[in-house]
């Protein structure tokens, strides 16, 4: 399912003394099957953009197209359920949304709201649990007895069980340990690869964006300031740094290395593996000459 935002503006508390523009003139295309990373500092408006992706917010200007639904300003939006079922959002600290008595009930809550039968929902719950790396014995436990990391995974399972076509992730690994972080990110990546799930990752980690995304959008002060493939975005790392943005560690390392040895590698490498290969061939080439 394609999603597109064209010239979207959103003002919080419009027409009050507290009015504040959160985003303006944001145009983003998310074709079906894309893995897009949305990057920006806190307050750059990325969370506001995210809430437009399944019509939780209605733009004050511009058009949001979700599949064949159009969401415009100043119109009544009825029956948004189909939209919300197709676009699943994993909010930041999703464990805060748990409320049921048992893990199973909480996971099937979403799907059942969208009219899935209980039996089918239970089946999905088991599958979703497997995806997030938890065992079935957890199903009967109270979500409030779990550890923080487990709660996070259960909450994510709750969204996966809705079987959305697009999944939106808002800093899904914030506060997790490095291992848990990698597991979760890899899990989303494999879902994206295997099922062609469109994925939108809101993050401020350039590392994650460089590693997983095939499109990157950078936001600053409510506006899109740069968009393109990771290669395009990071081809000019100096420019990024001038804008006060981070570049992945690999890129930083490459820049420093180039400066030290006084030669350029010809292109920017985005993963440690590629860079080490390039450096290795440079070194062996250097030895040979």
């Amino acid at each position: 399912m394609d999603i597109s935002l064209s010239h979207v503006e959103y003002r919080y508390q419009a027409k009050t003394p507290f009015e504040r523009i959160a985003i303006q003139d944001v145009s983003i295309d998310i074709p079906s099957g894309t893995y897009m990373a949305l990057i920006g500092h806190t307050g750059s408006g990325k969370s506001t953009v995210l809430q437009h992706l399944n019509a939780l917010l209605q733009p004050t200007k511009g058009i949001v197209k979700i599949g064949d639904r159009e969401i415009k300003s100043r119109q009544k939006n009825k029956s948004l359920k189909p939209v919300r079922q197709k676009v699943g959002i994993v909010f930041q600290f999703p464990e805060h949304q748990l409320f049921e008595e048992t893990v199973e009930k909480d996971i099937i809550f979403g799907p059942m709201n969208f009219g899935v039968s209980e039996e089918e929902a239970r089946k999905r719950a088991r599958l979703a649990l497997k995806h997030v790396g938890l065992g079935e014995e957890i199903l009967t436990k109270s979500p409030f007895d779990l550890s923080g990391g487990q709660m996070r995974r259960v909450a994510i399972a709750g969204v996966l069980a809705m079987e959305p076509e697009v999944i939106v992730l808002d800093e899904p690994t914030a506060g997790l340990d490095p291992r848990g972080r990698k597991e979760i990110m890899d899990m989303f990546y494999s879902l994206h690869k295997e099922r062609g799930l469109s994925t939108i990752l809101v993050t401020h980690s350039m590392e994650d964006a460089a590693r997983y995304a095939d499109q990157i959008v950078i936001m600053q002060q409510g506006m899109v300031i740069k968009k393109g493939t990771p290669e395009e975005i990071f081809s000019d790392p100096i420019d990024l740094m001038k804008m006060g943005l981070d570049v992945p560690e690999v890129v930083r390392f490459q820049l420093m290395l180039e400066e030290k040895i006084g030669t350029h590698l010809g292109q920017i490498y985005l993963s440690i593996e590629e860079l080490s290969m390039a450096v290795a061939s440079l070194v062996s080439g250097g030895v040979r000459s």
């Binding site: 003394p17 359920k81 909010f91």
Partner: protein, 265 residues
Amino acid sequence: MMENMLFGRYVPAESLLHRMDPRSKLLIIFFFVCIIFIANNGITYAFIAIYTFIMLTMSRIPARFLYKGLKPVIWLVIFTFLLQLFFTQQGTLLYRLGPVKIYEEGLKQGLFISLRFLFLILMTSLLTLTTTPIEITDGLESLLNPLKKVRFPVHEMALMMSIALRFIPTLMEETDKIMKAQMARGVEFSSGPLKERIKAVVPLLIPLFVSAFKRAEELAVAMEARGYRGGEGRTKYRQLSWKTADSLQLLVLIALTVLLMLFRS
């Protein structure tokens, strides 16, 4: 949806009322609420109206904003007016339509009471519009200080109040966040049959309570870690200062009281 609750919220501006000591503002409001009941005829109500109008202008709060804040309560004012209008049966009969009778006294009472109501709302909201919650609690604590003699826990009450006020926006934000998370999971809060909507409150309230308790615990630990041990000998960062303007404002109010006493019938 939480964003529209503007009534009685502090609006920063540069005005005499904003700069006044919260204690004098609290006293003024307290006395105003008392003396408004002295007014009982056209002239005295006109005095009150002029006073309220001057105070509103002095606050430099945009009229559009005041109107927006009043909108939800205006129905209550109209309702009181109608109640008085139809159920007071004194004075001369003005109008009659079937069983509906409108008397002169009813019209008068309805007008006065709804006006009184309106002025009360305007003035009390003026207090919260021009004074930060923290100033109000500081002012209250200082005004209630004499009660310490009778072992009334003034400091604790003020602390509870300021904590409560401090966390209203936080809780609102949290409510908004959880609502959105549950909406993304297919809960409909604002449409659908009533029964469903009542049921929809559960996935909102439980997470809200859980996080409120967690937050309370964290706050308590953080306060203890920073050496908080009650109000005994505690000094204030914000010092209240009573200025000439404060005394003048009180004098104006006393003058108004005298005028009301003289002209009431």
